[in-house]
Amino acid sequence: MMYYQFTVPWIIRRVRDVIPTIAMLFVMAGLASAQWVKVPLPGTPRTPDGKPNLTAPAPKTPDGKPDLSGIWTTNSGKYLDNLAGEGAEVPLQPWAAAIYKERHDTQGRDKPQVRCLPHGAPDAMLVPGYPFKIVQTPGETIILEEEFNQYRQILTDGRALPVDPNPAWFGYSIGKWEGDTFVVQTTGFNDGSWLDNGGHPHTDALHLTERFRRRNFGNLELEVTINDAKAYTKPWKSTTIPFVLLPDTELIEHLCENEKDAPHLLSK
């Protein structure tokens, strides 16, 4: 797990994930007005005592689609460690298997985040302690990533995937609805990111499919299909990744400042 500049909000968020009620009261007493860490959000369904009702039905947008908007986070580091899920067989090409073994054996010492380079998709959403916000609008769905203050755009205005794009860390994403599932296709990746911290590789041939489904107000699920013939002998699916909603809060600015963080990052 990477430790960047150790800020108070990071600690607080981590504590909140583990011991919700008690930590929240502590946080509220200390930081109630500090920086929107606790801010009541309009449109949140609530129980009679005013708490967000996380089992309320998933909200809908004006055009009748499920609304994925909200701040979401993983509740475990295991998905970032291994996108395939523990014990899963991943159909690696031989060269990719060798790379994976080396990365795995060195505990991901050389992963791109060491040099303040971004995670890619989907792993930027899987970082414990760093939530992401989905902002769903008619023409595009934006994912704001708290880690490194980055964004992804998922264009929903009918355009096709680009032909021969300039390679990018997050690629180029288009999305459409299949029933209640938001299906995102992404191509145009550079080969810099790892699929997970364990080091599953990908190449610029990666065609990623992410299927998001909001089960209810407080729960979102993601299934990922990796289709990268250069690195894998056939497409494979991730384990199902659950996200929980963080209600009544806001993202915190986060940046990687290389020189300052270098001692922390290389300590392994």
């Binding site: 800020t7 007005s33 920086q35 934006i142 203050n149 205005d157 680009p162």
Partner: protein, 266 residues
């Protein structure tokens, strides 16, 4: 990054100090895709003089892909008359020192965010656009900076500015409509970023920046910026920055790769 054709020696000297991810020719992705729902003239070109569109809640819709006039990246105060901008003595000394060094100590050249309002500004050597995505309670600004791609959020849900916030590069922004103008107020700065790049006008953590966004017509936006920073400036001062639409185009991802760009830093 997006190169452009205009050249200016001082601009290049400054931009040479900036980090950039890669200098590639105009890339193929989604540039030229005809975005649906956009007013067009008979020949299919975007009609930049069409009226300002309205959002679902009846407000002017600022959504679009924009580029500012570039002069204000270098000197935000360029249009001010003598006496409009009065620096505190420490700020005057610092600004004079910075001006001579061609933004050598500018955190932007170390890959830190440009700060507010400078993040809105494009440059002469490279196009640095931004996208506004407006929803009734939240306006998201997505930036293609000379450092990393990043975003700002402007909250229109009635929340007040935070008291005693943790200092940041891009601050905490709330917005409200005053007739057809979106008034954005931002506080909570860390005092490290520069207001502009050739002059190096300072900004302290006490700064309260107001950006008034008015969309004149489909293709034209204006940001009236007020800097209220009593630690740095004896009185508030304002700058008006014209911004134009970049039709049928989209953001390009930018990231600094610090070791690779080490050679560019001065």
């Amino acid at each position: 990054m997006r190169p452009r054709n205009a050249t200016s020696y001082s601009a290049i000297a400054i931009v040479a100090g900036l980090l950039f991810f890669s200098a590639t020719p105009l890339p193929a992705q989604w540039l030229g895709y005809r975005i649906p729902g956009v007013p067009r003239t008979a020949d299919g070109k975007v009609n930049l003089s069409a009226p300002t569109p309205k959002a679902s809640d009846g407000k002017p819709d600022l959504s679009g892909f924009w580029e500012s006039d570039t002069a204000y990246f270098y000197d935000l105060a360029k249009d001010l008359k003598p006496g409009d901008l009065v620096m505190q003595p420490w700020a005057k000394a610092l600004q004079a020192e910075r001006e001579g060094k061609e933004h050598q100590d500018d955190p932007l050249s170390d890959c830190m965010p440009p700060g507010v309002p400078r993040i809105n500004m494009s440059t002469d050597a490279m196009v640095h656009p931004f996208k506004i995505v407006q929803t009734p309670k939240l306006v998201v600004l997505l930036y293609e900076t000379s450092a990393n791609s990043t975003f700002r959020q402007v909250f229109l849900d009635g929340r007040p500015l935070p008291k005693d916030p943790q200092p940041t590069w891009l601050g905490y922004s709330i917005g409200r409509w005053e007739s057809d103008t979106l008034v954005v107020e931002t506080i909570g700065f860390n005092g490290r970023s520069w207001l502009d790049t050739a002059k190096g006008h300072p900004q302290s953590e006490a700064a309260h920046v107001t950006e008034r966004f008015t969309r004149r017509d489909f293709g034209h936006l204006e940001i009236n910026i007020t800097i209220d920073d009593p630690k740095t400036y004896v009185k508030p001062w304002s700058a008006k920055v014209p911004v134009h639409l970049l039709p049928d185009s989209d953001l390009i991802e930018t990231y600094c790769e610090n070791e690779k760009d080490e050679a560019h830093k001065r």
